[in-house]
């Protein structure tokens, strides 16, 4: 059999559906890929409209080779996530250009479904899901269109059938989603760029890093508290700890894993963190973290490090002590490291610190003096500071005097080290926003912060936040209150309009549920759901049984719905009653012949089964009177229905 050719109508639908699916990739892929694909698609439509021959294979082969080479030259690989998607889009457009038959079209549609999934590699938000649902609908309608053999039935019909079929697929999809056995972690190594492009704190800190991060209103993590929510100014979410200064840049350096010794001084705070993927190992917790989540460890400076980079949304239970004493008997090697400064950098600062040391032999007095300087002299807290030179701290302290938290922390740490007080920088997040609808705290990238810890003999490591000295508002009310109004900040962070705030809380609450239940549906969640339906031991065997039973039940429920329109419907109640009477007799082996009238049938029945004669003739008389007589009454109809109901052959 020769495959039927695809009509222009279907070609246009197919091209449009694929274009809609590929569209979100436009912002991630180089422009030439999209332009090439669009050109090829438009060429295909033009050839179809003008009824011209499609290009021959050798020409297409040349384009394939050229496109592959271009992708390789651009990405230096043809594997990987971005290169793979770029190649897939170009190949789809080329395949479109040689699509003649319905069979080719179906293959393209299958690849279209595959292209939808590649979009989820980049974005799995509610909006992306809704958009892709629309795409699935359209491409399924296209698939139906390609299977029509007659002249077009109109797009409405196609869309209606596709919508109905997809709606009827939803229950089964839900069951499969809930009960299909889930495994944690990838099956094989992912391409290196699989999780590129997520923002977050890193293992180094240069002036401007955190300020840049503050421009993003992306969610870093969400926290549900089991106990009372602490005050905003006490919420320091501990992340990477920086020890080593090189030029203007602080680095985490080597981790050390001495057993951290701490002593909680207040009742622990208990909470659950849902961390967005940031492709780094740090798990964030309130200072001071009092336990270690599963599949993570704690370094000697209280960094929580997951065993693998956090590539998927991760939920963990935590316990923290807001008041604690820790590191009083710190390793001397670590203290030595916390005093090191790069030689011949920031000479004015070092000199200034030595002067302070001579004035204040007491560590605490020295610290107070420095903080007072930040508070009382003309230091400014701003997101867009002037550029700093090679000796960044010198430039800041003695010239520009305006900057963001990282430069305050950096300057303070350099001053402390130069004065002989061990100091290090802690980065993380400060504060958070309470969502009254969801009852949880949202911590955004805009809440990123840097502060310092100094080591005092007999007390151990003590947190000192120089930003609090220069801008107490930052710590109490968040970044929007602290920076000048002219500084660029995400719209949401300002919180100027109450209704906008309300809308935003609703949306975030929705997004949180989406994250917890759709995107965060992992083996742990599945076990929890299964335990709710009474399956404590979630073996593959048990899941298979649940899946089969649930699928069977759903299909049983759906079948009558799908097949109900097959039988002819009898609208006339009189006829319906009579047909019921006939089928009762038919089941007893006395069916009505196709050409037999009611009276002839009754006569034959009376002859064959004389004992039925009175009832048969009564029903037939009623039927004939109602159907052929003038103006049947409702009472007569009820009578007929009743007689038929009571009749048995």
């Amino acid at each position: 059999m020769t495959a039927p050719t695809i009509s222009l109508h279907n070609t246009v639908w197919l091209t449009a559906a694929l274009a809609l699916i590929a569209a979100p990739h436009a912002e991630r892929l180089p422009a030439w890929v999209m332009v090439l694909a669009a050109t090829l698609a438009l060429w295909r439509i033009y050839l179809g409209r003008a009824r011209l021959e499609l290009p021959r294979r050798p020409l297409l082969m040349v384009v394939v080779a050229g496109a592959t080479a271009a992708v390789f030259l651009y990405y230096r690989t043809i594997f990987g996530r971005d290169a793979g998607v770029a190649l897939l889009i170009v190949m789809l457009a080329l395949k479109l250009l040689e699509t003649r038959s319905q069979r080719d079209a179906l293959l393209l549609i299958f690849l279209g479904y595959f292209l939808i999934i590649t979009n989820f590699l980049y974005s799995q938000t509610i909006a992306a899901a809704l958009y892709m649902l629309g795409c699935v609908w359209i491409i399924t309608a296209t698939m139906i269109g390609c299977n029509h053999t007659q002249l077009q039935q109109g797009y409405r019909n196609q869309l209606r059938t596709a919508g109905l079929m997809l709606a009827q697929s939803a229950p089964l999809m839900l069951v499969l989603f809930l009960f299909f056995p889930r495994t944690a972690g990838p099956l094989w190594g992912l391409p290196h760029d699989a999780h590129a492009g997520v923002s977050g704190l890193s293992d180094s800190m240069s002036p401007g890093n955190i300020a840049n991060l503050s421009l993003s209103d992306a969610v870093a993590f969400r926290v549900e508290f089991k106990s009372a929510i602490p005050e905003s100014r006490r919420m320091y979410w501990r992340g990477p700890v920086m020890w080593d200064l090189h030029g203007p840049t602080w680095n985490v350096g080597r981790y050390y894993f001495d057993e951290p010794k701490y002593q909680g001084l207040s009742a622990p705070v208990e909470y659950t963190v849902t961390l967005e993927p940031h492709n780094k190992p740090w798990l964030f917790a309130l200072d001071l973290p009092g336990q270690v989540p599963p599949r993570a460890k704690m370094s000697g400076d209280l960094q929580l490090l997951a065993t693998a980079p956090v590539n998927s949304r991760t939920r963990y239970e935590m316990k923290s002590y807001l008041e604690a004493r820790f590191g009083a008997d710190e390793n001397p090697l670590a203290l030595d490291r916390a005093l090191r400064l790069p030689p011949a950098s920031n000479p004015r600062t070092v000199e200034f610190a030595r002067g302070l040391r001579q004035k204040h032999p007491d560590d605490k007095a020295l610290i107070r003096e420095v903080l007072a300087m930040f508070r009382n002299e003309k230091f400014y807290y701003t997101l867009s500071p002037p550029l700093l030179g090679e000796h960044a701290v010198d430039d800041f302290l003695f010239q520009t005097r305006s900057g963001f938290c990282e430069i305050y922390a950096s300057s303070f740490a350099v001053l402390m080290r130069a004065a002989g007080i061990p100091a290090r920088i802690v980065t993380g997040y400060q504060g958070g926003e309470f969502n009254p609808l969801g009852g949880y705290i949202i911590v955004r990238q805009a809440d990123a912060h840097a502060w310092t810890e100094v080591w005092l003999p007999g007390e151990g490591w003590v947190r000192v936040d120089p930003t609090a000295a220069v801008s107490p508002l930052r710590i109490q009310s968040g970044i929007a209150a602290a920076v000048p109004r002219t500084d660029p900040l995400p719209l949401f962070a300002r919180g100027a309009y109450p209704w906008l705030r309300q809308l935003r809380f609703t949306w975030d609450s929705l997004a949180n549920n989406w994250n917890q239940w759709v995107l965060g549906y992992n083996p742990e969640r599945q076990r929890w759901v299964l335990s709710r339906v009474g399956i404590d031991e979630a073996t593959w065997h048990a899941l298979a049984v649940v899946l089969i039973v649930a699928t069977g039940l759903i299909m049983l429920a759906l079948l009558p719905l799908m097949l109900r329109t097959l039988k002819a419907r009898v609208n006339d109640p009189v006829k319906r009653a009579y047909l019921r009477f006939c089928s009762k007799l038919g089941r007893k082996g006395l069916p009505r012949e196709p050409a037999e009238g009611p009276s002839a049938y009754a006569a034959r029945l009376s002859r064959l089964r004389p004992e039925l004669a009175p009832k048969v003739s009564a029903i037939t008389r009623l039927y004939v009177a109602l159907r052929y007589g003038a103006g049947g009454s409702t009472a007569a109809l009820r009578e007929l229905e009743q007689q038929v109901r009571q009749f048995s052959a």
Binding site: Y113, N147, M173, L566
Partner: protein, 360 residues
């Protein structure tokens, strides 16, 4: 099981798989190849299995209702490709931990399961009956028309009808309508031709499944022998039957006009009358004694092949009818008395078509 077999009226004619159209008349030279006992048993078992599986009970009188037991369904090649794509999508979703990838994959899995019901539904509960077919000559195509009635509320789309996986025709059947689907089968042998097993099939709506039903309709088409090339002289008249008849000279007397019937020679249509708007009329000529013609088997050369003789006689019947003369036909075992007109032509052609089949 055996009771089922007994119930079927024409158990001997059930042939599974691909089969040439059933002919009631077989050629005398038709010999079945000898088979070994094993092959015989295997073939019989296979027949039995196919007949049981596909409910083949020979041609059935009356309409066929496509109940669930009559409809079969299997994935198409595209269906298997789609399953492969879904497997890839599932593996991708697991590997990258894409929750929405799972959602999409499972939605499509559910969709493809539903598609099976939809494809079945597209065929279910249709009522199929055979329509009358017009006789054809060998070498022409027999047009078998099948009436497909959709009594339900749902429209049916892209329903195909085919024989032997050759060409197929597609129809759409709106709800509560009946639609005719025609299938053309080349007539290769004279006699009564049955359409054999027809397949009614559909891939709608997604093309992932192929649902089909075998139709063994009680339809047949009369196939006349292939007429010999025109221009050959008619066989000479039987001595004594006429008075030295002559033909082919156009000397018949015009006798009057009668309404046109299908099959009348265009040469006899009264075109002038038609031009006057009187409709199509056929000129009739008075049958003189010398225009009576016996087409007789015995007058053909004895060494001539049987089929060739039948072809010559067929040509004779057509020519005689075209001239509007009175003619009769004598073949072994059958004599058609002298008469004229269309009915006579059809009677003679039928006798020629069925020659030899009465004895088998």
């Amino acid at each position: 099981m055996s009771s089922k077999k007994d119930r079927s009226p024409e158990g001997a004619q059930r042939i599974p798989g691909i089969s040439p159209p059933d002919f009631i008349s077989f050629h005398p030279g038709y010999v079945r190849l000898p088979l070994t006992a094993f092959q015989n048993t295997y073939a019989a078992l296979k027949d039995y299995f196919y007949n049981w599986l596909f409910q083949l009970r020979g041609p059935q009188a009356g309409p066929i209702v496509l109940v669930q037991r009559r409809i079969f369904i299997l994935p198409t090649r595209q269906g298997f490709v789609f399953a492969g794509v879904l497997a890839l999508m599932l593996i991708g979703s697991i590997n990258y931990g894409l929750s929405l990838g799972f959602v999409l994959t499972f939605l499509l899995v559910a969709l493809s399961i539903n598609a099976m019901v939809y494809t079945f539904r597209n065929l279910a509960n249709l009522r199929i009956s055979a329509a009358r077919t017009r006789p054809v000559f060998v070498g022409e195509k027999a047009q078998f028309a099948v009436c497909i009635d959709n009594p339900g509320q749902a429209d049916r789309f892209a329903i195909g009808l085919m024989r032997d996986k050759e060409e197929s025709t597609f129809v759409d059947i709106p709800s509560r309508r009946a639609v005719f689907a025609g299938i053309a089968i080349p007539a290769v042998r004279r006699g009564l031709m049955r359409p054999g097993r027809l397949t009614l099939f559909t891939r709608f709506p997604l093309g992932l499944y192929y649902a089909w039903s075998y139709l063994e309709l009680d339809a047949h088409c009369l196939v006349y022998p292939r007429p010999a090339p025109a221009g050959l002289p008619l066989p000479p008249a039987e001595p004594g039957a006429g008075t030295g008849m002559q033909h082919g000279q156009g000397r018949e007397d015009f006798a009057g006009l009668r309404p046109y019937h299908a099959g009348d020679s265009p040469r006899h249509i009264a075109w002038k009358a038609a031009a006057r708007g009187q409709g199509l009329l056929t000129k009739q000529f008075s049958g003189r004694a010398d225009t009576e013609l016996w087409l007789d088997w015995r007058h053909l050369p004895a060494q001539m092949d049987i089929e060739d003789k039948l072809s010559r006689l067929t040509r004779g019947v057509l020519d005689a009818h075209a001239r509007g003369i009175t003619f009769g036909l004598r073949i072994p075992g059958r004599t058609v008395a002298l008469a004229g007109g269309e009915a006579q032509r059809d009677r003679c052609l039928e006798a020629l078509a069925l020659f030899g089949s009465e004895s088998t």
